[in-house]
Symmetry: C2
Subunit: 318 residues, 2 copies
């Protein structure tokens, strides 16, 4: 490990937010940096409550996260925020700077980090789980992860969070729409934001009636529906309280540990596949002689038969 | 191989379109069926001109493909059409039946197949390359592949086609927009469809001036811009002629073979990775003992270190 990185990790362990910020930058910009860095910090991971906030664009997710972060802070909790912004096609970076978003939380000294959406995780940055691990290791009690609210992105958050909050607005369309988008399956808590708008009551009734129709086992969590006007902080204490209840439910039912196990298994699988991949790629071109390729071009052998032979050969050599 | 499949392959070789249709269904519905089927037909693959037709929704791609298929047929060519439809969330199948689309080509006996978009190829069905191989092996001179025109889907077509036709309309927005979407890089031929609409000339000028600014080596292909009104068949002969020219360019420059080599290499790589994957998955759960997982949960070891150990272990055993 580079001495500069060792120094950063020391400072991180001593609780300096600037070291956290710089380690996140390392993880974002350098491939596999997370392996090296988390090696040194992994014993500290596993305590934070990871809360994913998702929902369609315009639902007011940022405002809600801002208010929620402040509320938690006032309760004496240490809070970190990950905001996943759409990639800019020009810079590959975050479109909106951290300063423009969630200004009240920023002013209150809450640690906020914007990540650009890159890589394969849909609307989440590939670095999101590692950044969440870092914030967890840093000692935050709560890590809020706000996603881009589009399509698959909304659904991917479930793999990174202990609790998923789905934010809707009265005009998001009917509950059936949310159900179709797959949001019903991933929500642990619903927030109907902008509840002062027309149709809010009707939307809440609809949503609650759809929820009541879903079969649940005894003792299973039933997602509460929380009316909110995030700009006026209405509903924010209720949301915080519901999050506490969900965390207690997760811990008592053993699901908190289960979810962590799943995240670890996902990481092991992804990393193992990656390693095998790189081994393969390095040797595929050697193994695949021009002669072999000619056989495929002449139609004497399929690419599939060639692939099988290459894998056999690699296995024998290994 | 099942006797029923052997019979289908016999009928396929004898030129029965129903056998082609049923083999496509096999390939679409049964995982790895393409390996078995193409084993028997691979010597026939490699002659067809694969033409991808892409562009934003509403550009009139289907109508253009319909007219183009008929035009080629009148010239005495054998034509196959692959239309990739959006997945239905209900059936997992194609939303629009073949009958509703490209009715004139259907009436003229042209072989048309809709594929549902499934799997990882964005807007293309995973089966698309295999179905193109089958149509190629069946003896079609031209295989037209019409994609769903959304985002990544538009760009993926380049891996499956010899020639990419990008269909735009005057109101698609400016040429800069097309450039941003990455369409400029993948287009071998541009069609401005609905050319009778306002702003068509200006759009053509814009597009051509952007094209003229791109650096090209001597002898390199310059994408022509073809005005068209597909509903009245205007521009269709010009498009067919440009496609002929591009095919001649590909063959003369050696790129036709190059593209085929790339497709074969892609298939070998994909299949080899798949094989390694399946080997890994079967043994990952064995290799990963509960004890190991406990070490990660306690923070004694990272998922990355565990993954490395598992891969080492699998390699030693292999």
């Amino acid at each position: 490990m580079k001495p500069s990185l060792q120094r950063l990790i020391q400072d991180f362990k001593a609780g300096h937010p600037r070291a956290l910020a710089r380690l996140i930058t390392e993880v974002e910009n350098r491939e596999n940096a997370h392996e090296e860095i988390l090696e040194a910090l992994y014993s500290r991971v596993g305590r934070a409550h990871r809360i994913g906030i998702t929902g369609p664009p315009g639902a007011g997710k940022s405002t809600l996260v801002d208010a929620l972060a402040l509320h938690f802070q006032k309760q004496g909790k240490r809070v970190g925020v990950i905001a996943v912004d759409p990639s800019s096609p020009f810079t590959g970076g975050a479109l909106l700077g951290d300063r423009h978003r969630m200004t009240r939380a920023t002013q209150a000294g809450i640690f906020i980090r914007s990540l650009a959406t890159r890589g394969s995780l849909g609307g989440l940055s590939e670095a999101t789980p590692f950044v969440a691990d870092l914030m967890d290791a840093f000692g935050f009690d709560v890590v809020l992860i706000e996603t881009v609210g589009v399509g698959q992105a909304e659904l991917d958050i479930i793999h990174t969070s202990d609790t998923v909050v789905v934010v809707l607005v009265p005009e998001s369309g009917d509950a059936i729409q949310a159900m179709k988008a797959g949001l019903m399956e991933i929500a642990d808590i619903f927030v109907i934001n902008k509840y002062d708008r027309e149709g809010a009551h009707r939307f809440q009734n609809e949503l609650e009636s759809v929820l009541s129709m879903q079969p649940r086992r005894e003792g299973e969590w039933t997602p509460p529906v929380i009316p909110a006007v995030a700009t006026r902080e209405q509903g924010v204490p209720e949301l915080a309280e519901a999050l506490e209840r969900h965390l207690a439910y997760l811990k008592q039912s053993g699901r908190f540990l289960e979810k962590r196990k799943h995240r670890i298994l996902d990481e092991i699988e992804r990393t193992a596949k990656d390693l095998l991949w790189r081994r393969l790629e390095g040797r595929l071109s050697e193994a695949l002689t021009q002669q072999w390729l000619q056989r495929a071009l002449k139609g004497e052998e399929t690419p599939y038969a060639l692939a099988r032979r290459i894998v056999e050969q690699l296995s024998r050599e290994a």
